[in-house]
Symmetry: C2
Subunit: 349 residues, 2 copies
């Protein structure tokens, strides 16, 4: 009987944020691939596209004209998943199988800049700082609405992640309930806080900074790392070093440091396969329900699907949907590969 | 203030199997789509493909020849996600952040028939019965191995679901631990059983059979329905009417009824968009850990990604990954649309 070698042997890892496991199969990275190849657009985008409904001055689906905006620009989603209407509803608490409740919410789109062709890694730090200040403003404004208890800031980047317009933009879905993944995370953060009287993600970050092997980037105020329990091949998480529960608590220095690490991380991503790297990303932070939420620690998840090249992604399908998430390359290997990538964007070399 | 209308108003529904919610946005189905289109192969496949590593008589990646099999054929996956080796390992129970444990398991591939071109809906009922008997044998054989406590039977169909060989086949991943999704399901089934002294899925099926609106197909022994809490646009579940915890408990009649409903459901799926309908499917049933598991009820999930046509799928991305699953069309509407589909395959019309 051999001793367990985490770099070679199939194993499961535990995710304390979600109380879930992931199956890791390090030896499986050599599997040949004859399946689907993603199409990637190598077309150079124009700075302004007259047919784009996000570019300044253009007309949107609802007939409204965008202003001639000069930095970031926010508008209400024309096809929002939630509505603001207050609905009359009596909860049937005896219900087990047909439990439903109306949900109020607001969906907004955040255009990162007027430029149709500039993704995050291609923007300058001040431009990214501007996006962060927009996120702060939206978190405050939406969070102040009485029935809004959670503000989800996210970005779907690339057509493989369901993005239907290449003009760089993110979204904000704000709503009355805590979404499932957030509620689970909060429950786990809370029980850790109650038990240890300290913050799970702060303690985790300290442990990772000591070990170093999964850290991708570190600056004075933030670290970007591949979580020990990452499910996507190049999944990362940005965590603030200071105990900060929400984006509006950042100092000016922290805004700059956050913009800088965002630029560096997404540049490394693009350099990995010399492509505009697709991902879904999003911020997890304290809900806006008026609570203190010391259990929370500001962090941002990046879930990128690519596995082997610009065209071969990881499929989270049969076993993963019915059983549990599975990965081939180890998080330590992914972190080392990302660390090695240059901070200068491949297009500028 | 309007009264809540579940067919029109945005709402959340509760999934008692997973203790999770799904956001339903009925009004959003009219959203225009300018995003990614899936490529579908309309190429007619040959009955036998000399370059296919699953066809009878051909050589596989590891150099072994497939036998000249005549019905279904099972072999060990050449690139298994788990290994059978017993690994020495001491659990560090003080570990919170770096919890890992070796996992033993066996992965097998089940070719549905020698025919390279026959998917489930195109096979005859006796051929499908044969696949079910193969699943029974594998559940028994693998389950009898002392360290195997769970046998996951599943199929990834179509390149959009990560399937890399069009020769119709499924997989079986058997392992020592209960995978995350199965463990969650079991916990919820168990607490319902303890509380009500009856089986959650049996009670749910009775309630659905009374309501009728989400039932797609019903025969003497099984029903196929769109769960009240379905997340995928045309997600369905096949449930056995009798309280059966595992596939090996089926009578001969039940095997026939199961094969029949499988053929009907997958035929309706193909007819929906006149395409070989992609999905991941899989069986959830009692684990093979030696327990009695009265809380379990045999059921099979179908998770198909297509939303509007043969080429436009639902993306479970940013909001869904960070917040919770979201759907546009209601489960009631999906069930009605599936019910309307013919039981005769569009290729045979
Ligand atoms: O085993 P296969 O068919 O090569 O691989 C497919 O199914 C597996 C199990 O769902 C997934 O982990 C892979 O991502 C997918 O491509
Ligand atoms: O709102 P969009 O960009 O049209 O849509 C995209 O993001 C949404 C939120 O993650 C998803 O529900 C959609 O499936 C996806 O296509």
């Amino acid at each position: 009987m051999r001793n367990f070698d985490i770099n070679e042997d199939p194993h499961r890892r535990y995710n304390p944020l979600l109380n879930e496991w992931v199956l890791v199969s390090p030896h499986r990275a050599k599997r040949p691939w004859q399946g689907q190849n993603e199409t990637i657009s190598t077309e150079k985008l124009p700075e302004y596209d007259p047919t784009c409904y996000l570019c300044p001055g253009n007309v949107r689906a609802n007939g409204v004209n965008n202003p001639n905006y000069e930095s970031s620009f926010v508008f209400e989603n024309d096809f929002a998943a939630m509505k603001q209407d207050e609905i009359m509803f009596e909860d049937d608490i005896r219900q087990t199988f047909f439990k439903a409740q109306p949900e109020r919410g607001i969906s907004r789109v955040v255009c990162f800049s007027p430029r149709h062709d500039l993704t995050l890694p291609e923007m300058e730090v001040p431009g990214i700082e501007n996006i962060i200040r927009t996120w702060q403003k939206e978190y405050t404004d939406l969070g102040n609405i009485d029935y809004i208890n959670h503000v989800q800031i996210f970005e779907n980047k690339g057509s493989v992640m369901g993005c239907s317009n290449p003009h760089p933009h993110g979204q904000i879905w704000a709503q009355s309930s805590l979404p499932t993944q957030v509620e689970k995370t909060q429950n786990n953060l809370k029980s850790y806080f109650t038990k240890n009287n300290s913050n799970l993600l702060q303690d985790y970050l300290q442990a990772e900074l000591k070990k170093e092997e999964r850290i991708v980037i570190e600056n004075d105020h933030f670290a970007a790392l591949v979580p020990f329990w990452a499910i996507w091949p190049y999944e990362t998480m940005i965590i603030s070093k200071r105990h900060i529960t929400k984006i509006t608590d950042f100092t000016a220095d922290e805004v700059t440091a956050y913009a800088t690490i965002l630029k560096q991380l997404t540049t490394k991503y693009d350099n990995l396969f010399s492509t505009s790297f697709p991902y879904s990303s999003g911020i997890h932070q304290a809900p806006t329900d008026g609570g203190k939420h010391e259990e929370w620690q500001f962090h941002m998840h990046f879930y990128p699907p690519l596995l082997r090249s610009a065209t071969v992604k990881k499929f989270m399908v049969g076993y993963e949907m019915l059983g549990e998430s599975q990965r081939d390359i180890t998080p330590e290997k992914s972190a080392a590969i990302l660390r090695e990538q240059s901070d200068i964007h491949y297009k500028n070399k």
